[in-house]
């Protein structure tokens, strides 16, 4: 101890040296809690494996075939894309209600630019992607610079973008045959790769690649760490040297861009360009994110969890349909899953070292 210490502290050298300690015996439950705290995607992964196992046991071959399993992937491709965008925003402690609307507007722009104005399809696709990025930028600007709550901003943008979509498209659907004839590039993500009984669309493959790339970016680049830090405590992030505004805007722009990509994939999936498609994409994406163990309070969770969350919903939907139950059972189970996921999230947050 230094010489300059206060007199009353001289007794410190005789004081107990052990730090306040709690019962060191860690129960199995504590260990599980720590493990889940370190690996937030573990819960949804376990739930996914269990649900695959249970449906596999009940339905056997009918469910456990390469065809059925890859069908699930195809059904969750769109949710996977939009969920990836939603994940980025929820990690910053925001929420994006406009993801579905941006997706549909982008797909309509891609279609209408090609058919109404006769632009080259590649250029029209670029315009669609641009529209998505611009919508994202508006969201990001309002959240980061004007400092409006993300919920309000995206609630407003949801209506604005959706209305623009209907006004611009005049509620007109572009038929699948026309697209196949004149603008096959719009169907690019619907093309299939068959391996045995398994059917993969380019959309599915690209979605998985996108999630893996984002997982790398979020965990192994400075930008990714900043996104987490902002969601955790944006004031602290700002003071410790993160450019919060710039990073937040970039997150919303990237999310808008991913939604636009989802719009392109949507054309491949449903065949036509329809301004009324994808109405539930925002709710489905939030569901996937929440079941995936990503905290709505920001700063916690893994994008892999979102993918598992989307797959869990896909497995339940297909499994219950094959069993032949009323589809309402699916919604009920998903509702239970959402609440359980948030309850588990709260429990994991209370972890000690």
């Amino acid at each position: 101890m230094s010489k300059s210490q206060q007199d009353f502290e001289s007794v410190l050298s005789d004081s107990a040296t052990d730090v306040a300690s709690f019962s060191q015996k860690k129960t199995l439950l504590d260990k599980i809690q720590s493990l889940l705290h370190a690996n937030p995607a573990l819960v949804p992964l376990i739930v996914l494996m269990l649900s695959l196992l249970v449906f596999g046991l009940i339905l056997g071959e009918k469910f456990f075939s390469p065809f059925s399993l890859t069908l699930i992937l195809q059904q969750v491709a769109i949710v996977g894309f939009v969920g990836a965008a939603q994940t980025l925003i929820i990690i910053t402690a925001g929420i994006d209600l406009s993801v579905g609307a941006i997706m549909v507007l982008s797909s309509v722009v891609m279609g209408q630019f090609t058919f109404r104005y006769g632009l080259p399809v590649e250029f029209a696709i670029l315009c669609g992607l641009g529209v998505g990025a611009i919508c994202g930028f508006i969201n990001g600007f309002l959240v980061a610079v004007v400092k409006l709550p993300p919920f309000i901003v995206t609630l407003g943008m949801w209506q604005i973008v959706l209305a623009s979509n209907f006004l611009y498209s005049a509620n007109e659907t572009i038929r699948s045959q026309d697209i196949a004839e004149k603008a096959a590039a719009l169907h690019f993500f619907g093309e299939k790769v068959k391996i045995g009984g398994a059917v993969f669309t380019y959309g599915v493959i690209f979605m998985v690649v996108l999630v893996l790339v984002l997982n790398y970016i979020l965990n192994h680049t400075a930008w990714g760490r900043h996104v987490y830090a902002i969601g955790d405590d944006s004031d602290a992030a700002e003071l410790s040297g993160v450019q919060v505004k710039k990073t937040l805007i970039s997150v919303y722009v990237i999310a808008g861009l991913i939604c636009a990509l989802a719009g392109w994939v949507l054309i491949g999936r449903i065949g036509s360009v329809s301004p009324t498609a994808g109405q539930f994409a925002n709710i489905e994406s939030i569901t996937a994110v929440v079941i995936g163990g990503i905290s709505l309070f920001g700063g916690r969770g893994s994008i892999m969890g979102m993918l598992f969350g989307a797959l869990i919903v896909g497995v339940f939907s297909l499994g219950l349909r094959l069993i032949g139950t009323d589809p309402q059972w699916t919604y009920m189970l998903i509702g239970i899953l959402i609440i359980s996921a948030v309850a588990i999230d709260q429990w994991i947050r209370r972890v000690s070292a």
């Binding site: 101890m1 300059s4 680049t221 830090a229 955790d232 602290a236 700063g299």
Partner: protein, 256 residues
């Protein structure tokens, strides 16, 4: 302090208004090389506003800040950091869900060399962890076993240690500590005070904002007393008692 030595960080005529409240009213500030300057003042005297003005967290409405004699205009804490001024804020500015190493390198991450770092922008985790571990053990904080544990699993004193270690590791010119012992126990405070002395012995001047008079009188070379938005006086702790300092800061007594 010798008048021949140039102050390293100075503020002249700093004014900051928040609506109708004048938090800083033409305040002056001087920090000399190698010293520990304590800043004391009653609540609302404008200590924090002044520190924020010299550390870039707020932009003063009027006045000038000079670092090593050259005027500087910080518009964000990032500017101040780049100029070599590190601040440990009262709330510590740590991200609880991120690891110690991630926190220490927040905003100045080290990337891998070669292709992975340049094009894949991959972080050099092993290197950052190594530096973080070295810095913590240098400051006697190696009770922390795992550099990858998240900050939320640390005790209050350990968190404070991480924040101070971060500032000490990167602060090249000035380190500002805002109430570093306010939330700590007796022993943890002692650790932090030792840490402060350690940092000074390396020649880096420190600004210490504190309400704890025994701590201030123990470590400070000079004490800047702030009152009603400006510098009232600067005293040498050897010439005055703690009750004198309190009397100055509350206005019970005028400095001579």
């Amino acid at each position: 302090m010798n008048n021949n030595i140039e102050p390293i960080l100075t503020g002249r005529g700093l004014v900051k208004r928040y609506g109708r409240v004048t938090a800083l009213d033409h305040a002056d500030f001087d920090l000399y090389p190698g010293e520990i300057l304590a800043v004391i003042g009653d609540n609302g005297a404008g200590k924090s506003s002044m520190i924020k003005a010299v550390s870039g967290a707020t932009i003063p409405d009027e006045g000038e800040v000079m670092l090593e004699g050259k005027p500087v205009h910080f518009t964000s804490p990032i500017d101040a950091r780049e100029a070599g001024i590190e601040t440990v804020y009262q709330n510590l500015a740590l991200s609880p869900a991120l690891s110690i190493a991630d926190n220490m390198f927040m905003g100045r991450e080290v990337r891998k060399k070669g292709f992975l770092g340049k094009y894949m922008r991959m972080l050099d985790r092993p290197k950052m962890e190594q530096i973080a571990r070295d810095k913590l053990s240098e400051l006697g904080l190696l009770t922390i076993q795992n550099i990858n544990q998240t900050v939320e699993t640390l005790s209050g004193g350990q968190r404070q240690g991480v924040a101070v270690a971060r500032a000490a590791a990167f602060g090249s010119k000035v380190i500002i500590l805002d109430e570093p012992t306010a939330a700590l126990g007796v022993k943890e405070s002692r650790k932090v005070l030792e840490l402060i002395s350690d940092v000074r012995s390396r020649g880096i001047p420190i600004v210490l904002i504190s309400h704890n008079m025994p701590h201030v009188f123990e470590v400070a070379d000079r004490i800047h007393i702030h009152r009603l938005g400006k510098r009232l006086c600067v005293i040498n702790p050897k010439d005055y008692s703690m009750s004198d300092a309190v009397a100055f800061m509350t206005g019970a007594k005028e400095p001579t």
